[in-house]
Amino acid sequence: MNLTLFVWRQKDAEDKGRMERYEAKEINSHMSFLEMLDVVNEDLTEKGQDPIAFDHDCREGICGTCSLMINGTAHGPEPGTTVCQLHMRHFKDGDAIYIEPWRARAFPVIKDLVVDRTALDRIMYSGGFVSVNTGVTVDANAIPIPKSESDKAMDASSCIGCGACVASCKNASAMLFVAAKVSQFAHLPQGKVERTSRVRSMVAQMSAEGFGGCTNFFECEAVCPKEISVDTIAKLNREYMMARIKVK
């Protein structure tokens, strides 16, 4: 199939950036979206033009690196799918496709479609962990955990940290991401000791990074490739409220 692409090009963080038009010719419907871009890039390179920069690594839907806004939707039209797992059979011959980077104040553009998501890491560095040193642990079965709780922790911790939730939120809120992590630990006995300090520091860091607050648009849940539920946000809010009461 043949497609027309409108792609955001931006030389670096200072550049203003603009949409450019490209033709993607003879695209095989078995290709993934990123393979389609590879083909376009090979073509651009051979023509002596600068290939389009975009982030990716595993191409299996698990590392969370790929990040494209496709026709206004983070990760594109297929629900529960990262862009690297989106295939061209979901498009039609002759389609025009708009490709843009994640947009959020806390995610500055580095080049073209590549953005800086280290703000999410800094939230994690502020408290997204259980404080335990290597080698001082008890036998793993000494702390039984009900399967239902452990399953809920697993649901939450399947977040791949891609930032699609931020990119699609009107407030550019990182709430779903933070909620996923807080929720994982809130369901496990290991995480309970630090629950107050954890939720306070992570929420504080989230604001400090310039992410907006959550006003219940639920766009995040709709685009999350791992289908993290907004129930985790409710859990986060409860944890946060308890933490505030404790401090007062």
């Binding site: 030389k11 670096d12 095989n28 078995h30 290709m31 993934s32 990123l34 393979e35 590879d38 083909v39 390179t45 051979e46 033009q49 290939p51 690594d57 595993c58 191409r59 299996e60 698990i62 590392c63 969370g64 690196t65 799918t81 797992q85 295939h87 059979r89 580095i110 080049k111 998501r117 280290t118 890491d121 994690m124 560095y125 997204g128 962990f129 259980v130 335990v132 040193n133 290597t134 080698g135 642990t137 008890v138 793993a140 079965n141 702390i143 039984p144 955990i145 009900p146 399967k147 452990s150 922790a153 697993m154 911790s157 399947s158 940290g161 994982q184 630990f185 496990l188 290991q190 995480g191």
Partner: protein, 637 residues
């Protein structure tokens, strides 16, 4: 060069404890005077960096992704082994050790493998304490399954996302240290070279992948945790960024490279569909528990699967290996698939595929049971191929997956360059010629959490600070070399893209140094690779400039190293005139096509030393001694 493995004396089960006691300690107050560089933030690097920082060392940690949480370890699906014997089915450290030695076809070091088995239980405790949500039974205790042909259930898992959860565990330990300032993290920073001064590793030279700046960092010890090199084949199950650069650069600076030709080919991947293909996706091996593998009995049979009657199908694994059948080990299943495709009986548009058929299982158990067992895998398959595997058999084909070779290390995980340690998939140590399922995650975490913190302490205790900073002239020299190389890549201005060279190399490697090898093919590859390399340096087209985010330049540097490294792999495969595990030389097989080892000559590790750009590498051999397990032939008939 004599390769001294520094294996401690005494009985197998006591070596590690004895060694730990004998190692030198660094006084807690002195630890903060030492700086350690860790390159890589996967399971091995992340676990290592966090544990070293907890002890009080200053750690600088580097990775090429935008976040340490995205290292390739994240994509491991199946599980991690540990000899907990929670299932009361007879597992023990010794049994895990024994299975691993045998699985590796007697080409790994006994003492290392035993230690791996010993610390495996601690790994599970450590991860559970970090909040890794392992699968659990209704009683609240950890669940296990069996994997990769083991007869005990020793594999721990977290849905189909075990690697992800273990890595997030290590990343959270690392996050804690980054938050405290004990680890300084450098994401989007690629190590380009290692700096060796007076025979000791003193630091690294890196490229900041955002600004393009070349910088140096000095340290008292350097750890490489940079993963495997399966992307030398271009198509593999590895993430796109996986590369050999760090290990290969260390090799060029004097570290020996061990058993580079040992690469594991995984039998159940989704086949290649066309030239544009950028990577291959693994379908979990667990599918082989219920799926039957077959091809048409006649060559060039273009009928649809459903139209081929039972009598005209060849269930070749069941035919050749009646006792293991579809569950034959990875190397055997992979080779058999290649054979039937070579006979013209392969299926699909490219003829490079075989059927993995669930029709019988669905008939026997019902679709619901199959959905329950493999639903997510079937879903993933359908997403990628657009075909419904409940209605028609899956297409699968082997793909390059894991590399058992790597930099040579001794029992302390130290390379032949003092102060340069190598952990995880980047070293050669524990898997021999064949890696069993669920053992790589175990090795990465064992190295990072439980071995490195001791052995690095011993090194620093003995050697003291290096006393060398980046103002030393050698840093400048290596930086200049790096800049020249980058400049050279950017100014060739040829016609062919980096990826097209990588694809060409991949085809040569897959054809002549892939699932099977023979003398003529390897010799041919050894002629083709230098020609391709020369063409690369004359005709590659790398757009853009050095001082910016330039993904073509990143790939060009990696492919340049693969183009040299591929040759080393072929040398190694040519030299090893025997078949063992995943290394199958066609000349050395039984009449039925089974691998024939030559234990007299090759119960050893082949370690290669770089002797200069225009000289062949020299071979150094570490003889392996089997005092506890008797050398025996693997048989799966």
């Amino acid at each position: 060069m004599k390769l001294d493995a520094k294996t401690p004396s005494g009985p197998l089960a006591e070596k590690w404890d004895k060694h730990k006691f004998e190692m030198k300690l660094v006084n807690p107050a002195n630890k903060r005077k030492f700086t350690i560089i860790v390159v890589g933030s996967g399971l091995a690097g992340g676990a290592g960096a966090a544990s070293l920082a907890e002890l009080g060392y200053n750690v600088l940690c580097f990775c090429y992704q935008d976040s340490p949480r995205r290292a390739h370890s994240i994509s491991a699906q199946g599980g991690i082994n540990a000899s907990k014997n929670y299932q009361n089915d007879g597992d023990s450290d010794y049994r895990l050790f024994y299975d691993t030695i045998k699985g590796g076809d007697f080409r790994s070091r006994e003492a290392n493998v035993y230690r791996l088995a010993q610390v495996s239980s601690n790994i599970i405790d450590q991860c559970a304490a970090q909040g890794v949500p392992f699968a659990r039974e209704y009683g609240g205790l950890l669940a296990n399954r069996s994997f990769g042909g083991a007869q005990v259930s020793r594999t721990f898992y977290a849905r189909g996302q075990t690697g992800q959860q273990l890595l997030l565990g290590a990343y959270s330990a690392l996050s804690r240290q980054i938050g405290r300032g004990q680890v300084k993290m450098f994401p989007r920073t690629e190590m380009i070279d290692v700096v060796v001064i007076d025979g000791r590793a003193c630091g690294i030279v890196v490229r900041d992948m955002v600004t393009g700046k070349i910088n140096s960092y000095a340290a008292d010890a350097v750890v490489l945790a940079t993963g495997g090199y399966a992307n030398v084949f271009y198509l593999s199950t590895n993430a796109k960024g996986c590369n050999v650069t760090a290990a290969y650069r260390a090799y060029k600076r004097g570290a020996l490279f061990a058993d580079p030709c040992f690469t594991q080919i995984h039998p159940t991947c989704i086949p290649v569909s066309g030239e544009y293909q950028s990577k291959l996706t693994l379908m979990s091996e667990s599918l082989r528990n219920d799926g039957r593998i077959w091809v048409p009995a006649k060559a060039d049979d273009s009928r649809r699967a459903a139209d081929i009657p039972e009598g005209e199908r060849d269930y070749y694994l069941e035919r050749k290996y009646p006792s293991f059948g579809n569950l034959s080990p990875r190397d055997i299943s992979s080779r058999s698939a290649m054979e039937v495709c070579d006979e013209g009986r392969g299926i699909g548009a490219t003829g490079r595929g075989v059927y993995l058929d669930f029709a019988d299982a669905i008939g026997r158990l019902g679709e619901d049971v199959i959905r329950e067992r493999y639903g997510n895998l079937f879903h993933m398959y359908e997403k990628i191929t657009g075909e419904n595997p409940y209605l028609q058999p899956m297409h699968i084909y082997p793909a390059a997956h894991y590399t058992m070779g790597g930099l040579w290390v001794d029992y302390n995980l130290e390379s032949t360059i003092p102060g340069l340690f190598v952990v995880g998939e980047a070293n050669f140590s524990d898997h021999g010629a064949n890696r069993l399922g669920a053992s790589a995650l175990m090795q990465g975490l064992a190295d990072g959490y439980f071995i490195l913190p001791y052995t690095i302490g011993d090194f620093l205790g003995r050697s003291g600070p290096s006393g060398i900073g980046t103002e030393h002239g050698e840093f400048g020299n290596v930086e200049s070399e790096t800049k020249e190389r980058t400049e050279r890549l950017l100014t060739i201005g040829g016609k062919q893209t980096v990826d097209s060279f990588h694809r060409e190399l991949g085809k040569i490697m897959w054809e002549y140094c892939g699932m099977t090898r023979n003398e003529a093919g390897l010799k041919k590859a050894l002629e083709m690779i230098p020609v391709l390399r020369d063409r690369f340096w004359q005709d590659v087209l790398v757009p853009g400039v050095g001082e910016e985010l330039n993904q073509s330049l990143e790939r060009a540097g990696r492919v340049a190293d693969f183009l040299e490294f591929g040759e080393l792999m072929c040398h190694d495969a040519l030299n090893r005139t025997e078949s063992c595990g995943a290394h199958f030389r066609e000349e050395y097989q039984t009449e039925e096509g089974e691998a024939v080892r030559n234990d007299k000559k090759f119960t050893n590790v082949s370690a290669w030393k770089f002797e200069g750009a225009d000289t062949s590498p020299s071979l150094h051999v570490e003889n392996l001694e089997f005092e506890n397990v008797h050398l025996a032939t693997r048989s799966y008939k």
